[in-house]
Symmetry: C2
Subunit: 257 residues, 2 copies
């Protein structure tokens, strides 16, 4: 099995990444790492992403992205990341939670690497299916999960915590980005207040993470519903009225136990 | 009354921004605009944000941010944006929804402008209050709201839509960033599938937006709960057990009708 990590690193989480790489290699996996900061990853989508675009043409990101993907004219940095995604069996996204989400540089990784024709706009759109997405997609057969550090307390992200439940905060990534492109999504690994942890706590989190990395193949994925599997009206993509009664409301409607 | 807009612009939404500026100025408001792309806004937080940091010191973003804020050594671009925030009575954040969230450049605006000592880490932390945040904060007395364009269908973002309810998707911004720093948050203005709209639809959206800009002072803010007002346990910041029965679960617990 091969692994790849897409990692946030501001000099902060490198230690965590090194630990994961060491653990995965000790298990005999091959690992590729993308340290976004060390790579000087370009965060924002802009005109420089589409050098083939004539200077007097208005930039329409989706169209430019589709054209560049289809004609193999994406920039080299984006192509390399797409190749890594296709190469890996499992992708781990490790980042610190900043302002309830990913650091901009990692959001920009998705904005740029998830090009039209690679990550979306695939398959047929008709009365019975709405593209190859949500469970289906180019990344099918691969696993992914998030490893997230947060400065706040675990309780703030609990069911009744003021930040909102962590599963809901990460739903747009787990479901809207990873499940969307076909990954089997494993539950996130969370580490809270690590910057204030003493050695004992830190070592126990390290042990938990190692344990998690040893059990990837047996960890149960989040049971997201198949978009084209009959659960949704097409094309409104609303969950059929008879479904989801046991799941509450909102984001939780879109997975089953 | 004065207004400021923080605007995403990849050459795409400039038209929408110009429209808003024109409408607000016609009402006699003073407007400042931050076109992030045109300004070549730096998206990611990195070492260059803290030139005072000795080269051999490890970058710890929160500490470096606190130090730079307290000693007035934030970079000029960040200082200018903070000044605009303090100057404005109302701030409008306009952006296209990319992959369930803001474009990286706008996420990076928050990562950089929301410095420690400016946007967080304010006030006392003790048994009865947990900092000046959530309804309280430096930005108190100002209003803010999001103007968001989305390529997908309105139904996909409805209560049972596959993307999740739009109110939940925007909660981390509305609550975790805007309410957090003290803004009164007005409900977002959404425009769906504008890139496929014909002239008639486009004009009706323009009219709705103009109407919205004319009624800022009378639009009812989202009723987020006060963190330090007695509704939450401190310091776990979990909603007290007797509250929220009428609100469902998750994000919706944190506002009242």
């Amino acid at each position: 099995m091969t692994y790849k990590r897409v990692d946030f690193d501001g000099g902060q989480s490198m230690r965590g990444t090194e630990l994961s790489v060491e653990e995965l290699e000790a298990q005999g996996h091959e690992v590729q790492v993308s340290y976004l900061y060390a790579m000087q990853w370009k965060s924002q989508v802009d005109r420089a992403d589409f050098p083939h675009l004539p200077p007097d043409t208005r930039l329409k990101v989706a169209y430019a992205s589709a054209e560049a993907t289809a004609s193999n004219r994406l920039t080299d940095d984006v192509k390399r990341e797409q190749e890594k995604l296709l190469w890996a069996d499992t992708v781990i996204f490790q980042f610190p939670m900043w302002w309830m989400g990913r650091p901009a540089i990692l959001k920009g990784w998705f904005d740029r690497v998830y090009s039209l024709g690679f990550a979306y706009g695939l398959g047929e759109y008709n009365d019975s299916r709405w593209g190859d997405r949500y469970v289906e997609g180019k990344i099918q057969g691969k696993k992914a999960f998030l490893v997230v550090t947060a400065g706040s307390w675990r309780e703030h992200f609990s069911a009744r915590g003021i930040s909102g439940p962590i599963d809901d905060l990460l739903f747009p990534i787990n479901h809207g980005l990873l499940d969307y492109t076909g990954f089997e999504v494993l539950p996130q690994f969370m580490a809270y207040q690590l910057d204030r942890a003493d050695d004992l706590v830190f070592r126990s989190v390290v042990d938990e993470l190692r344990q998690r990395l040893r059990t990837i193949s047996t960890t149960r994925p989040i049971g997201y519903r198949r978009q084209n599997g009959g659960d949704y009206e097409i094309p409104t993509l609303t969950l059929k009225p008879e479904l989801g009664a046991a799941s509450g409301s909102g984001f939780s409607l879109h997975s089953v136990e």
